[in-house]
Each structure stands twice: as structure tokens, then as C-alpha cells.
């Protein structure tokens, strides 16, 4: 099964092998090698890598809709944030009476707002399984409704991109409001533990890192399976010649809604893994700029390859960590420059370098 999914996917095989090796090596280097040894991986680095992995999953989700279906979504940050909020709500409920106000029934911010009881939409979030369903369901339902309305009206291209920006911006404004009941400006934070394990403990952080890695692998395989199926071929046909696809009898809207919804669910899972590792979720995650950044990761890594998205997300975010440490003001300029350079000189992104090299060599052989 696994072998058939990854057949003819050299890049994916390499990427997944490296990822798997990292997932095994990093915990060992953290737990078994004593601190002070140059090979020791400090826990903060494990968590940082875990964060990159959640971004990688988010990038895979965006590549599925943009690279293969041709829908440039500039609103995937919204699905990521919604998944994050669902997880955050569970973590808030786990705090119990250990908050600043010591109220066993209400999170701190509700006590602060003088609320007397838990709003109805917080019910159930004290149960892990319920929160996990919501992590997938909420982004999924939103994507389904949005997609159903937009694709049925045949909104495409730049108009659709603008609508996705509007979607995430609207959510940003809504979540900023205290009355919404999601912590307003400050969002949800001060988490204590997950499933009874302290979020500060090394073991929990390593487990979250591994969970993120497994999510990337599973998400990758799922997307690759979809792309390899006939559904995947229809999806690429829609990208290349939408109206032709209609004339051979495919209901293009249904395909678009389906893929868009699956992608949003993956983004939601990424968000849910992101929140316990960074320890906070606030409306800033809905910022339109965030969603644009995701698209840049995918463009830099290479569209329509899936592994390129993983590569791009990790490399760009690693550079971001490095450069915001060195020169905080310069980062956005660097990101912009990187995007322009890649678009000009590497239209297929970093993943395309290998292909370009191969193509050049084979064309040389032909002329020789």
C-alpha cells in the first residue's frame, strides 16, 4: 500500500525518510545525550522543530488546493487558527481552578469580563475527543460552506483569492471582540497540561514533536493518495482546463468543494498541534498576512510537488527564526526578496531545481 502510494515519488521518499530519521534521532539526542555535549538537542529546539512541522502540514494543505486544484487560497491561515482555537479551548478547560482567579468553572478571561456562566459553545471542550472532532469539523464545515457558495457561483482566480482574504480578515475582527467569548485580543493562553501531562515537561514536548511529525507523514500520504487516484487526475484537469472538464461530464464544483474541505481539515489539524507547542493562540493568527506567507512557503518550496511545500515551510521558517534574531526589521524585506527571486529564477521552486538540472542534462544529451 505504502509502496504503491510513493511509487514514482522520489522527492517524497527522500523527504519522508529524512523526516522519519529526524523523528527518531531528535528525541534520543534530547533524552540520552547529556546537556553540554555538542550533540545534545535542547528541548526548546525540539519544540521549535515541532512548530515547523505543523507549518509543514499547513503548507501541504495549501499545496493541495493551490498546486493541484489551482485555487490560490489566501485564507488558509483561518482554518489553521480555527483548529488552533478548538485545541486552545480544550487546554483552557484543563486549567480548571489553577487560573489566576481560581474559578473552577470559568476561564480567567470570562471571570475578568464578569461572565456568570460558560457560553454554550464552550460546552464539551473539557473532553479531549470532543475537542479533536471540532478541530477537524469546524474548519471543514466553514470550508464546505464557503466553497459551496463560491464555487457554485463559479467564482475563480483572483476574485476567489480576495474572498479568502476577506474571510480570514472577517474572522480576525470577530475574534478580536471580547463578546465573542474567545478571549478577545489576548486569545487563549496560560495552558497547563494536555491529557494530564504538563505542557512544560520534556516528555510532553517530545511527544508533541513526534505527533506533529506523524501528522505530516500521514497528511503527506493522504494527499499523495488523493493525487494518485483518478480524483487527482480530475483535479489537475480542472486546474488546466476547467470548462473542458465540465464538458466531459465532471461536476467541477463538487470536486473543488471536496478538495478545499479536505485541505481545510488538514490545516485545522496543523493548528491544533501548533497551539500546545507555542502555548498561545490569539486573533493574530487570522491575520491576512499569515495566509499570504503560507503561499510564499509553497511557492519557494515548489508548487504541486507536496514535498516542496514541506521543504519550503521548514526552510523559510528556519530563516525567519535566524534572521528575526539577527535583524528583526529586515525579515519582511528578505521574505519579499526571496519570493521575487524564486518567482523569477526558480518558477518551480526549490523542488524544481532537481528537475531543471535533469532536463538540462537530458537536453544536452539529445543535442550531443
Amino acid at each position: 500500500m505504502l509502496l504503491t502510494i510513493l511509487r514514482n515519488d522520489r522527492g517524497g521518499q527522500i523527504m519522508l525518510s529524512v523526516l522519519l530519521a529526524t523523528l527518531i534521532a531528535v528525541p534520543l539526542l534530547n533524552l540520552l545525550v547529556p546537556a553540554g555535549n555538542p550533540l545534545h538537542v535542547p528541548t526548546y529546539l525540539v519544540t521549535l522543530m515541532g512548530k515547523y512541522l505543523t507549518y509543514a502540514l499547513l503548507a501541504i494543505a495549501v499545496d493541495l488546493v493551490w498546486g493541484y486544484l489551482g485555487i490560490l487560497s489566501l485564507g488558509h491561515g483561518a482554518f489553521f487558527a480555527l483548529g488552533g482555537y478548538a485545541m486552545g479551548m480544550y487546554l483552557m478547560r484543563q486549567i480548571g481552578d489553577r487560573g489566576v482567579y481560581g474559578n473552577p468553572d470559568l476561564p480567567d478571561f470570562m471571570v475578568f469580563l464578569n461572565w456568570k456562566e460558560l457560553p454554550w459553545f464552550w460546552y464539551g471542550f473539557d473532553m479531549f475527543w470532543f475537542a479533536m472532532i471540532m478541530v477537524i469539523l469546524v474548519p471543514g464545515v466553514l470550508a464546505f460552506l464557503f466553497g459551496w457558495l463560491a464555487f457554485r457561483s463559479r467564482v475563480t482566480g483572483v476574485y476567489l483569492s480576495i474572498m479568502t482574504q476577506a474571510l480570514t480578515y472577517a474572522l480576525l475582527l470577530a475574534f478580536f471582540r471580547n463578546e465573542m467569548g474567545f478571549g478577545g485580543n489576548n486569545g487563549l493562553t496560560d495552558f497547563k497540561d494536555i491529557l494530564g501531562f504538563s505542557l512544560q515537561a520534556d516528555g510532553t514536548r517530545i511527544a508533541l514533536f513526534i505527533a506533529s511529525g506523524i501528522a505530516v507523514i500521514a497528511g503527506y500520504l493522504l494527499c499523495r493518495y488523493i493525487i494518485n487516484s483518478k480524483l487527482g487526475r480530475v483535479v489537475v484537469a480542472i486546474r488546466d482546463a476547467e470548462s473542458r472538464t465540465r464538458f466531459v461530464g465532471y461536476k467541477v464544483e463538487n470536486y473543488k468543494v471536496w478538495v478545499f474541505t479536505v485541505s481545510a481539515m488538514l490545516a485545522g489539524i496543523a493548528g491544533a498541534l501548533y497551539v500546545p507547542q507555542v502555548g498561545i493562540i490569539n486573533p493574530g493568527e487570522f491575520s491576512p498576512l499569515n495566509s499570504i506567507e503560507i503561499v510564499i512557503w509553497v511557492a519557494i518550496g515548489g508548487r504541486a510537488t507536496l514535498y516542496g511545500a514541506v521543504l519550503g515551510a521548514i526552510l523559510v521558517n528556519y530563516s525567519k527564526t535566524v534572521f528575526t534574531g539577527l535583524m528583526p526589521e529586515s525579515w519582511l524585506f528578505m521574505l519579499g526578496a526571496l519570493f521575487v527571486l524564486v518567482t523569477l529564477y526558480l518558477p518551480q521552486g526549490l523542488a524544481g531545481i532537481v528537475n531543471q538540472f535533469k532536463a538540462r542534462r537530458s537536453s544536452k544529451q539529445v543535442t550531443a
Binding site: L231, R233, V234, D240, A241, T245, R246, F247, K251
Partner: protein, 263 residues
């Protein structure tokens, strides 16, 4: 496969051609920004017929095809497929699945897919999302692909991306896509543009052999080609039917001569 066959069986049941005609267009009108592209057009195509439609540029040929296939909705008039299927109430994919296939004027194939995949995508059968996720080519379908590739002479290009084909080969591939769709009515827009004489002859042969079992409507500019295949020709002019009959009748019709040669 069984699902696909089932779905097909239902549409076949629905298509009722008991009154001989397979396509009824009645009093159609379409205008774009005040320009009447189709003007009280009425046209009937019989089951199994091979009909050629000619007319100067802007006569409304492509618009007519757009109406039949659901791309353009007319301002008024009716379009029926058989006795029972109202085309004006259907979307493009519904019309395609009911059994109307179309080949475009400019060859449009799925460029990044291989030649064989193009045929797989166009093939009749269940085209729902969940079905496609698990769909595998059956032996019959594989046979149909191989057989069609032989017919259109692209067997050795099986694994080649369709975008790498020559213009004439793309035309053939699109005809192949039409064949595997197994439509009851084929609308073929300028099938021989960009083809050599030899290729034209093969196309003519193919289209003639298809008629009878299916109904074929060909829009073409090349008069010689039309003469070689047509039993009945319809001349469109300014969005309505100017003349109809055999090629000789039509060519000797003074109104047609006037339109084609100018006053």
C-alpha cells in the same frame, strides 16, 4: 464499473428518440450586448444523422453549440434532447452525462496528462467525487482505451503528455476523447483545421462510420471536406437557418451564393 453502467442505463432509458429526432432547437434567441448572435433559430437533428453546418463567421455556429452543451443560456426558445430531456434546465456536466459530446474549435486536451489519461478522464461512467477516489481502470475500460488509441493512431504516444502532441494529433486526441465518452450526439467544431489532406480523409472516414449508430453534427469551414461527408447541410446566417438540403441544393441556392459571395 457496475455503478457506471447503472447510471448510464438510466440516462439511456430517459433519452426518447421515438419521434425520429434526437435534437430539437426551437425559436432560440441569444443576444450579447444587443448583438443578436442567435435569431429565432429552429433546427432538428435526426437520430443517426450526419449533419454539416456551414456559414460565414459570426453566423452563430459556435453559440448554437454553446446553447446545446449548456455553456450559454438563451434569452428565449427551447432545446430538447430527445422527447424528454430539457437541455435548458441542465448544467454542462449533466448534459455531457446525458449523452452529448463536444469537440471544440480550438483543440482542448488536458495538456499535463498523458494521452491515455486524457481518454481515461473522458470515458463514460460514474463521474462522482467519491467514486473517482477509488476508481480503477477495469479490463473493459483498458481495452476501450487501447482500441480508441488504435482508431486515432496515437498508440505509440500512450505515455506522452498531451501538451507535447502536434496540432493535428491534439485534434485526433480530442476526437478520441469524444469516442470514449460514447455520446448519442456528437458536436464536432472544425475537426480538420490544421490537418493534412491525408489526415482529413481519415477524419472524414471516421465521422461517416460513426453516423448511423450516433448522430453527428459537424461545423466546418472547409467546403471540400463538407462535400466529402455530408448528406444534409444547414447554412446558418446571422443567427438563423438560411437554407437546408443536400450540398448541391444548398450551393445553388441564390440566397446562399449571395451570403457567401457578397451582393
Amino acid at each position: 464499473m457496475s455503478d457506471g453502467e447503472g447510471a448510464r442505463f438510466i440516462t439511456e432509458q430517459k433519452l426518447d428518440t421515438s419521434h425520429k429526432a434526437i435534437l430539437y432547437l426551437e425559436d432560440l434567441n441569444v443576444s450579447f450586448d444587443g448583438f443578436k448572435a442567435i435569431n429565432n433559430l429552429s433546427l432538428y437533428i435526426d437520430k443517426g444523422e450526419l449533419r454539416c453546418i456551414i456559414g460565414p463567421n459570426g453566423a452563430g455556429k459556435t453559440t448554437m453549440m454553446d446553447i446545446i452543451t449548456g455553456k450559454t443560456k438563451p434569452d428565449s426558445g427551447q432545446a430538447w434532447f430527445g422527447q424528454t430531456i430539457d437541455l435548458l434546465k441542465m448544467t454542462e456536466p449533466e448534459i455531457a452525462n446525458a449523452g452529448i459530446g463536444r469537440k471544440f474549435q480550438k483543440p482542448t486536451v488536458f495538456e499535463s496528462h498523458t494521452v491515455a489519461e486524457n481518454l481515461e478522464l473522458a470515458m463514460h461512467g460514474n463521474k462522482s467525487v467519491w467514486y473517482s477516489l477509488k476508481a480503477k481502470l477495469t479490463g473493459t475500460q483498458q481495452f476501450l482505451i487501447d482500441d480508441t488509441l488504435r482508431t486515432i493512431g496515437l498508440t505509440e504516444h500512450y505515455y506522452r503528455p498531451a501538451g507535447a502532441l502536434s496540432h493535428g494529433q491534439k485534434q485526433w486526441l480530442e476526437i478520441g476523447m469524444l469516442l470514449v465518452q460514447e455520446p448519442h450526439l456528437m458536436l464536432v467544431d472544425e475537426p480538420v483545421a490544421g490537418m493534412t489532406h491525408q489526415e482529413m480523409d481519415r477524419t472524414a472516414e471516421l465521422l461517416v462510420s460513426l453516423a448511423g449508430e450516433r448522430s453527428v453534427v459537424v461545423v466546418e469551414h472547409d467546403m471540400e471536406f463538407v462535400r466529402s461527408i455530408a448528406d444534409k447541410v444547414t447554412v446558418l446566417h446571422q443567427g438563423s437557418v438560411l437554407a437546408e438540403g443536400s450540398m448541391d441544393e444548398v450551393q445553388n441556392d441564390p440566397r446562399v451564393i449571395e451570403v457567401y459571395l457578397g451582393e
